[in-house]
Symmetry: C2
Subunit: 360 residues, 2 copies
Amino acid sequence: MLEINPKILNITPYQPGRPIEEVKRQLRLKEVIKLASNENPLGPSPKAVKAIKGALGKINRYPEGGCFYLRQALSKKLKVGADNLIFGNGSDEIIDIIIKTFCQEDEEILTSEVSFLEYKIIAQQNGRLVRTVPLKDFKYDLSALRKNIGPKTRVIFIANPNNPTGSYVHKKEVEDFLLSLPDNILVVFDEAYFEFVDQKDFPNVLKYIEKGKNVMILRTFSKIYGLAGLRIGYGIAKKEFIQYLERCRQPFNVNLLAQEAAQAALSDADFVKKSKKIATEGKKYLYQSLKELGIEYIPSATNFILLNLRQDGLEVFKKLLRHGVIIRDMYQYGLKDFIRVTVGTKQENTRFVEVLKEIW
Amino acid sequence: MLEINPKILNITPYQPGRPIEEVKRQLRLKEVIKLASNENPLGPSPKAVKAIKGALGKINRYPEGGCFYLRQALSKKLKVGADNLIFGNGSDEIIDIIIKTFCQEDEEILTSEVSFLEYKIIAQQNGRLVRTVPLKDFKYDLSALRKNIGPKTRVIFIANPNNPTGSYVHKKEVEDFLLSLPDNILVVFDEAYFEFVDQKDFPNVLKYIEKGKNVMILRTFSKIYGLAGLRIGYGIAKKEFIQYLERCRQPFNVNLLAQEAAQAALSDADFVKKSKKIATEGKKYLYQSLKELGIEYIPSATNFILLNLRQDGLEVFKKLLRHGVIIRDMYQYGLKDFIRVTVGTKQENTRFVEVLKEIW
């Protein structure tokens, strides 16, 4: 009998947000809006689209294995060395690479109970152990993380701001946390929503990397840069770490069009500014509308909002879906009375509020 | 001290073929041809390019996690169930998924000493053991593979046709080999070059999958379909296996444009036919030219040829490079006196032969 690796048997696969086309097809709806996956509602950067068109003639060729040109551009923009960067097929792949590089089979990762689900799933796929601690006031509880570090803990994943709560841990908390850590642990700050953050007390983790600390940053082109469909994320760390991480990367992991599009999107400051503005204004409108409806929410530093409905979120999800509004229920995250809604365009936000009012 | 996982320390990273742009830049050459990575010299399928253009407006959205439409199209074309397929960010990712699913940490994979390097590298990245057996007459030696199965062997990788030799194991050999195997082993036939094969005695492995055997096929859109830059490959196996493999797949592993392009390329029979014709005619021309030069080669069932130079291949590689012809030296594969050349367009093949004559 060919046995399945017993360590992967308990994995609960990630449930993605429902695609627009699928919902249209299944519910026979003409108008469907998706506020489920924290995507950029403006579409991709026009500069990225142009760059892709210019590169179509060479997609028969393997991509640049080391993301040469994109690496130069990003290094310049972030003011970090080109050898401080690693690129992945979305940040998901970099999470996999980090676990393979820094965590042995009998060792464990530590994260929050309610956070991006892939930390846990990818650790399980790799047969690594997972330990989680509860949130505190809907925020990562760094002192609980500190207390739960065991002898086998190797990597701590902190989504900052956190998904699905939208909350963040601030500068001082991070400073104290890092000072308190033993030196055999890597802390990964997943800053997928970094570009949406306005808060002045948001930590500057790059500073710790420059100081040679055991920290790493993950960022992505899937959110504010509007390139979720192309799959490209990156990691920042000290050179010594990148060199080891590179051993666990596949040679052609980032596709050619993603590289071209990301480089162009980086240079599209107007698009980023516009995207941030629409998120900020949208949040303001949604906060106000939720207050009027008497629905509690967690203030968000990102482009999405977690709503505490104090009633079954899956039911509300289903009702919204029947009206052609796709949001995310929070069953997978263990928050059954909650839903998460991405800030969309003005029209999309209005439509969401209209339907919510109707079913509330 | 933060330790690096000791199991990844011995990995020798894969050395990709040199990109055209990089060679132009470094050697200040205007005309450079690349016959190094077994890519399709005709470019991508025009239908694929058109499909990509039509999908650019939605690259801000995450891709279909399950490759819904492509899955339907491929299932129909191959006459297999939609649930017999798994898609990856290139076949590389499916190799990783297979190892995670069927091989435990203390177990091993078995393959040939001279074959696609990623089987070994990916097994090492996952901390699995690797056992290899030598080629016999530049072919996979199935009886040596059989003899080398140990109690810990779980997955056998057979590239068929093999890269970098271009040789293949035939129907009868595969039949006998599979009959001789214990039932706790998975055999993966990597058929990346399947569409170039003309030989009547090439095995029909699909038949064994239909019979429920412990076999799996890997194929790719990187070769005859001309989409190497987009990163998309697929695996075929019985439904029960696919269900387990899916647990080790990232939810958005195949980018949106790759899915659209692959679906369109599948329907472009003219392009595939033309691509095969150019490979067949090119091989004929190259065989003849090599004979005239007195250079030995391994007859190939693929779109590339392994040349036995009986002198240092790296030197010849360097000389060709200085003339703007990129081919592949075989140092990584342990074949120091060999080079591998991809069959290009008529003009590219002629150029390669001209330069080879000059330096020979």
